[in-house]
């Protein structure tokens, strides 16, 4: 109850209703969809802090998985929004190296100012995202197929053009001090600056999904696209905007990687395709759309990164990491389903208000 005016007088006098007080109750916390993801993350954190030893718990250990989380997280957030809206974007796997190569070729090979290379890389992400969006809307082909096509097309284009323009598949890049400090450097020698970019994007996407009208449109589109359109939501514009955001974010990661490592390779980034989907799904987003949260996506990203990097601290063969991630993915989805069902089946007790 948000307002006393809604309580009928005789009930207000007799029943001690405290529904809707501003503090969330434990019960309402348990019904949050992120609980499953939170439990999963705490579990892997405990697991690796036991088996990973002191190194895993050190600053360097934390940096190793936080850096991975930051890069993955920047891509997983828009991919998560797309998934909530009922779409997938596989093309991020090619977008990352394409943007790396763009900035390296423009600013490294042709020695254009860094700002031009960065703009070109981000511009490419924008264009590819726009093309994905338009193709999905116009052709009505599932976005899985459309972005699978652009994934391969873009990979081929990157390889072909790189060889034509530079004669090689790996280009060196020397960036000026300011660009490097802002986009691709280590802070304290350990933490990538992308961590701060990730935090900024988390805040932006969190705001959009939970506090803006746009967020409601995304949820509605994933829930039922036809009804959403009938309710007056500009579904086509929202779809294009979401694909542009995932293209841009993937381009950002590729570009910052090139600046960080001072070079770019044609084949680097295919791992982002499945890793971003895994992070998002572990985070409780429904693969078929209509449900998900930014807190969940962040938790899913952290969980994935902890497993991915933590394995190196344990003394187990690193090959086991994939097995753990596979099992974890399945467990996380089962757990998320359980919590979602709990949230759905929850009914307030009628006796209280009578």
């Amino acid at each position: 109850m948000k307002s006393d005016a809604l309580v009928q007088p005789q009930q207000a006098a007799t029943a001690p209703i405290v529904v809707g007080s501003s503090l969330p109750s434990i019960g309402s916390l348990v019904r949050r969809p992120e609980v499953g993801s939170l439990i999963g993350m705490i579990a892997v954190l405990i697991f690796f802090s036991i088996f990973g030893g002191d190194n895993f718990m050190s600053v360097g250990g934390a940096a190793s998985w936080l850096n991975v989380a930051a890069e993955l997280g920047i891509i997983a957030l828009p991919v998560g929004l797309l998934m909530i809206a009922g779409h997938l974007d596989l093309s991020v796997g090619s977008m990352v190296p394409a943007s790396s190569m763009t900035v390296a070729i423009v600013s490294g090979h042709y020695h254009a100012p860094m700002i031009v290379g960065v703009a070109a890389a981000l511009g490419l992400g924008l264009v590819v995202g726009f093309i994905n969006g338009v193709l999905v809307i116009r052709t009505k082909v599932p976005s899985f197929v459309v972005t699978l096509a652009t994934l391969f097309a873009l990979a081929g284009l990157t390889l072909g053009l790189s060889v034509i323009l530079t004669g090689t598949t790996s280009v060196a890049l020397t960036s000026d001090a300011v660009t490097k400090a802002v986009l691709g450097d280590y802070i304290g020698g350990k933490f990538e600056v992308t961590l701060f970019w990730w935090i900024a994007i988390v805040l932006i996407v969190g705001f959009v999904l939970s506090f803006s009208r746009f967020g409601n449109w995304i949820l509605a589109m994933g829930g039922d696209g036809v009804s959403a359109r009938n309710a007056g939501i500009p579904t086509e514009k929202v779809t294009i905007a979401l694909f542009i955001s995932s293209g841009l974010c993937a381009a950002f990661v590729g570009m910052s990687q090139a600046i960080l490592y001072n070079s770019a390779q044609v084949a680097a980034g295919q791992s982002f395709i499945f890793n971003s989907i895994i992070a998002v799904v572990i985070g409780g987003v429904l693969l078929t759309g209509g449900y998900g949260s930014v807190v969940g996506i962040v938790l899913g990203t952290l969980t994935f990164s902890i497993v991915n990097q933590g394995i190196f601290y344990t003394g187990f063969d690193a090959n086991w990491a994939s097995l753990i991630i596979g099992v974890l993915l399945l467990l996380a989805v089962l757990m998320n389903n359980t919590f979602r069902t709990m949230a759905l089946s929850y009914a307030p007790r009628t006796k209280r208000t009578k």
């Binding site: 948000k2 409601n216 509605a220 309710a231 007056g232 009914a347 307030p348 208000t353």
Partner: protein, 273 residues
């Protein structure tokens, strides 16, 4: 009361060579419940789709308050004051009550330099509208729509239509999936909407439910209007007969009678949906 709020004249609809509706003429007035009855495949859904702007009619005219209208989309129909509520009510089971109530027309408020979705107000209004329709169990607009019962979802969808000023409310089989008690509640809500001066088009194949709330009845058989009568002009058995196409029902009755070898309340098993 002289001009009907919504009037169809000689409406035909065909999908290619297949005729789905044939020469349908109907009218519904303000504050009146028109029950559209018909067996499965009688053309009820096609008629709803035309009324709600999903399909365009092949020939004939549709008038609202005396003016000819043509809907380009469901949105367009909505702008003309036509709201359609489908069998399962809310279509966003994983959205909160407040959010799904205001889909596409979210209330906003200022928050510093930003304009944000006003969750509190949305929840408050959604809960209040549901309370007005007698749903007292729901006190929190943050609950997911999927957690509501079928009748509560109907109430949410009808409350939404009423709140946004619908003048014609189309209810597509609202009671079909409900238990007796919930169906009774939904029927009461239909009467409440009628009292507010809304024209209700109630689609059903349950004769009992139709007779409870209807002022005016139309029976569809294989795409054509087989009967059009007002409350009290026909009995339940007559309507049931009409819906099933007359002779079919007589045959069926004879068969059942022969099988049961008793005259114990022949009508009862037939009217069960």
């Amino acid at each position: 009361m002289s001009t009907p709020l919504l009037k169809l004249t000689n409406v035909n609809k065909s999908y290619g060579p297949v005729a789905a509706l044939h020469d349908i003429s109907l009218e519904v007035h303000k504050g009146e419940v028109l029950c559209l009855l018909g067996d499965n495949g009688a053309g009820k859904s096609t008629l709803i789709k035309i009324l709600s702007g999903v399909h365009k009619l092949t020939s004939g005219t549709m008038e609202m308050a005396g003016k000819t209208v043509e809907f380009d989309s469901p949105r367009d129909a909505g702008a003309h004051g036509i709201a359609t509520v489908h069998q399962f009510g809310g279509t966003f089971p994983l959205m909160s009550i407040g959010r799904s109530f205001f889909v596409g027309v979210e209330p906003t408020r200022r928050w510093g330099p930003l304009t944000i979705y006003d969750r509190k107000r949305a929840n408050e209004i959604a809960v209040r509208e549901m309370r007005q329709l007698g749903i007292t169990r729901i006190d929190d607009g943050d609950r997911l729509v999927g957690g509501l019962s079928g009748g509560e979802r109907q109430a949410l969808a009808i409350g939404r239509a009423v709140h946004f000023g619908a003048s014609v409310l189309i209810l597509d089989e609202p009671t079909a999936a409900l238990g007796v008690k919930e169906a009774a509640h939904v029927l009461r809500i239909v009467l409440q909407a009628r009292r507010k001066g809304i024209a209700v088009i109630f689609i059903t194949h349950n004769v009992v439910h139709a007779l409870t709330v209807g002022d005016h009845f139309a029976v569809l058989i294989r795409g054509a209007k087989a009967a059009d009568f007002r409350k009290g002009e026909k009995s339940r058995e007559e309507i049931t007969d009409l819906m099933a196409g007359g002779e079919h029902m007589a045959e069926l009755e004879a068969e059942i009678e022969g099988y049961m070898a008793t005259e114990d309340n022949v009508a009862a098993p037939i009217t069960t949906p």
